[in-house]
C-alpha cells in the first residue's frame, strides 16, 4: 500500500513526526504498527501509529540507524510502501475506569491514540510521560490538549519530577497501559499492582507473523511480538 508524505519534520533531537496520506481502513486499534519500506534497505522498519483518521496517519520515530536516518531525509510528496494495521494493539475495553497511561521516550507516540480511544470509551485516564531530559520532550502539549492529567518525569530533573515514571505513580488507579524501553516496562510491571497491558519491542523480520524472528517466551508459550503482540497482558509476561 502506498502512502504519500505530507510532513516529515523533527520535533525533538533525532525524533521526527511523519504525516502520511493513504488508506487506514486496516487499522483497528491503538498500539498497532506499520512496516515501512525505506528505499535502499532490504527489511521494512516497524513503527507504531501515533494517530490516524480516515485520510491518513501520523507516526513519530527516532533515528536509530541508517534506515531511519534515510527515512528522516525523505520529503513532502515522496511516497512510501507500507504494510499497515499490524499487530494486536491495546484493548481499551479490558481495563478499569481509571487507567494509567505510562510512556517512556519513543514509546510515547502510540499512547496518544490510546488516550483518545480511552476517552472515547468513557474512561478517565491519567498520563505519565518519562524522558531523559527537557530537550527530548515531545507530544506533551498534545496530551494536555486532550484535557487529561499529564504527569511528567525526566531522568535528570530538567523538567517535571526528577527520576523515572515509577516514581510518580498516583494512588488512585485501577489498571495501566505502558509502552517504552524494556527496563521501564519491567519497572512498571513490578510497581503497578493492577492489571495492565504492555507493548513490547523486538527486532523484526516480516512484521506479520511469518518468520518467527521476534518471538518472546510467555506464560502461555512462545508468542510473536508482531502478531500476538506487540501488546501483552501483564499476566502473560514471564517476568
Amino acid at each position: 500500500m502506498l502512502y504519500q508524505i505530507i510532513e516529515n519534520t523533527p520535533i525533538a533531537p533525532g525524533v521526527f513526526l511523519l504525516d502520511l496520506a493513504g488508506d487506514t481502513s486496516m487499522v483497528k486499534a491503538p498500539g498497532q504498527f506499520c512496516q515501512i519500506q525505506i528505499p535502499g534497505f532490504y527489511l521494512r522498519r516497524p513503527i507504531s501509529l501515533c494517530d490516524w483518521d480516515e485520510n491518513g496517519m501520523t507516526l513519530i520515530y527516532k533515528t536509530v540507524g541508517q534506515g531511519t536516518d534515510a527515512l528522516s531525509r525523505m520529503e513532502t510528496g515522496d511516497t512510501l510502501d507500507i504494510l499497515n494495521g499490524l499487530g494486536n494493539g491495546y484493548d481499551v475495553n479490558a481495563c478499569g475506569q481509571r487507567p494509567l497511561v505510562i510512556g517512556g521516550g519513543v514509546g510515547v507516540p502510540p499512547l496518544y491514540a490510546l488516550t483518545k480511544a480511552l476517552l472515547a470509551a468513557g474512561k478517565t485516564p491519567t498520563v505519565i510521560l518519562g524522558f531523559n531530559k527537557e530537550e527530548e520532550i515531545f507530544l506533551m502539549d498534545s496530551f494536555e490538549d486532550l484535557g487529561v492529567p499529564v504527569l511528567l518525569t525526566t531522568v535528570d530533573g530538567s523538567a517535571g519530577q526528577k527520576g523515572f515514571v515509577t516514581g510518580t505513580l498516583p494512588q488512585d488507579y485501577d489498571s495501566f497501559f505502558a509502552c517504552g524501553p524494556l527496563p521501564m516496562l519491567k519497572a512498571v510491571y513490578k510497581a503497578c499492582g493492577t492489571n495492565g497491558q504492555l507493548s513490547l519491542e523486538e527486532r523484526m523480520g516480516c512484521g506479520f507473523g511469518a518468520c518467527m524472528g521476534c518471538t518472546v517466551q510467555t506464560k502461555d508459550g512462545p508468542k510473536r511480538v508482531c502478531k500476538e503482540g506487540p501488546v501483552f497482558r501483564k499476566e502473560e509476561l514471564a517476568w
Binding site: Y42, C206, C211, P222
Partner: protein
C-alpha cells in the same frame, strides 16, 4: 496461452512457485493477504520431533540486499503440526503441501518423517540437513557425503512419498553431497539453504544476533544459489527445487534454466507478502517476452 505447470516427481504443480520453509509459516498469515491456492505448493515451517522455542532474540539482522536469521527452528513439534496445523490448513490450502523436517539424530529424522509421510495433505517430504542455526544438529548431517547419505537412506526406508534433501551451501563441494544423496535414494534435492554470516553492532561492539551467526538470504545470495543449482544439475538426474534470493519472475526463469524443476521463494515473502502472487501473475508476460511456451521445457536450458 503459455503453460506454467511443471511435473515434480509425479506431482503436477500448476506453476513452479513454492514459498520456502521458514518464510511462510503454515501459510495462515499469507492466506489473510491472498488466496494461497494459486501457489504451486508451499514448504511449511521446519518441523522437529519435539517442540522447540528456538534461539534467543535478536534473531534477525539486515544486510546489503538481504538478511540474516538465527531463528533456530522454532516450531511446535510434529505432533502439534499433525493435530493442529495440518487440520487448520485444510480451511485455506487445498493442494499437496511440502513437509520440511529437521532433526538432531537419524532416529529423530526417521520418526518425524514417518509421522508426516502418513498425512494425506503432505505431497513431498523435504529433509533439512542444512540448518546453520542449531548447534549439534541440522547442518551436522549436511556437511559430508557420508552423513547426508545416511539420513537419506534412513528416511527413504520409512517413507512412501517423494523425499527431497535440502542441502547446505556451507560446504567445500556441494556436488559430492548431492550425488551421495541421489545414490542413497533421494527423489530430489532442494538447494540452497542459507549461507552462514554475521553482523556486528558498531555501538555495542557485539554481534547483532544473539546466536552470533546466522543464515544469509535474500537477493545477495542469488548468484551463489544459481551457480550451485547449475553445478548440481549437471551432476545428478533427480529433480531440483532451486532457491536462494529468488525475488522476481525473471529470477524464477533463470533458476529453471540453471536446472530447477520448481523454484522456492524465501526471504522475499518477508519483505513483500504478495511477492509469490505477483511472480505468478508476471510469469506469463515474462514468458511471452522471452518466447517461452512451457516452463517445463526450459528446465536445465542453460546446459545445452
Amino acid at each position: 496461452m503459455v503453460n506454467l505447470s511443471v511435473n515434480l516427481c509425479g506431482l503436477k504443480l500448476d506453476n513452479p512457485v513454492i514459498p520456502a520453509s521458514g518464510c511462510f509459516g503454515y501459510g495462515k498469515e499469507f492466506a489473510e493477504y491472498y488466496d494461497i491456492n494459486i501457489l504451486g505448493s508451499f514448504s511449511f515451517k521446519g518441523t522437529t520431533l519435539e517442540p522447540r522455542f528456538g534461539n534467543p532474540t535478536p534473531r534477525i539482522a539486515e544486510t546489503a540486499s538481504g538478511m540474516l536469521n538465527a531463528v533456530g527452528l522454532q516450531n511446535p513439534g510434529v505432533n502439534h503440526v499433525i493435530t493442529h496445523e495440518l487440520p487448520d490448513m485444510k480451511a485455506y490450502f487445498h493442494k499437496p503441501v511440502i513437509a520440511n523436517v529437521s532433526g538432531f539424530s537419524i532416529g529423530e529424522y526417521e520418526k518425524t518423517c514417518a509421522l508426516l509421510d502418513a498425512q494425506e495433505q503432505v505431497g513431498i517430504i523435504e529433509v533439512n540437513i542444512s540448518c546453520p542455526n542449531v548447534h549439534g544438529g541440522g547442518m551436522a548431517f549436511g556437511v559430508s557425503p557420508e552423513s547426508a547419505a545416511a539420513v537419506t537412506k534412513a528416511v527413504k526406508a520409512v517413507t512412501k512419498k517423494p523425499v527431497f534433501i535440502k542441502l547446505s551451501p556451507n560446504v567445500t563441494d556441494i556436488v559430492s553431497i548431492a550425488k551421495a544423496c541421489q545414490d542413497a535414494g533421494a527423489d530430489g534435492l532442494s538447494l540452497i539453504n542459507t549461507l552462514l554470516g554475521m553482523r556486528i553492532d558498531l555501538k555495542t561492539r557485539k554481534p547483532i544476533l544473539a546466536n552470533t551467526m546466522g543464515g544469509l538470504s535474500g537477493p545477495a545470495v542469488f548468484p551463489v544459489a544459481l551457480r550451485m543449482v547449475y553445478q548440481v544439475c549437471k551432476a545428478v538426474s533427480i529433480p531440483i527445487m532451486g532457491m536462494g534470493g529468488v525475488s522476481s519472475a525473471r529470477d524464477v526463469i533463470e533458476m529453471m534454466l540453471a536446472g530447477a524443476t520448481a523454484v522456492q521463494i524465501g526471504a522475499a515473502n518477508l519483505v513483500n507478502p504478495f511477492i509469490c502472487k505477483e511472480i505468478i501473475e508476471q510469469l506469463p508476460e515474462e514468458m511471452e517476452r522471452l518466447g517461452i511456451n512451457s516452463l517445463q521445457e526450459i528446465i536445465g536450458g542453460a546446459h545445452a
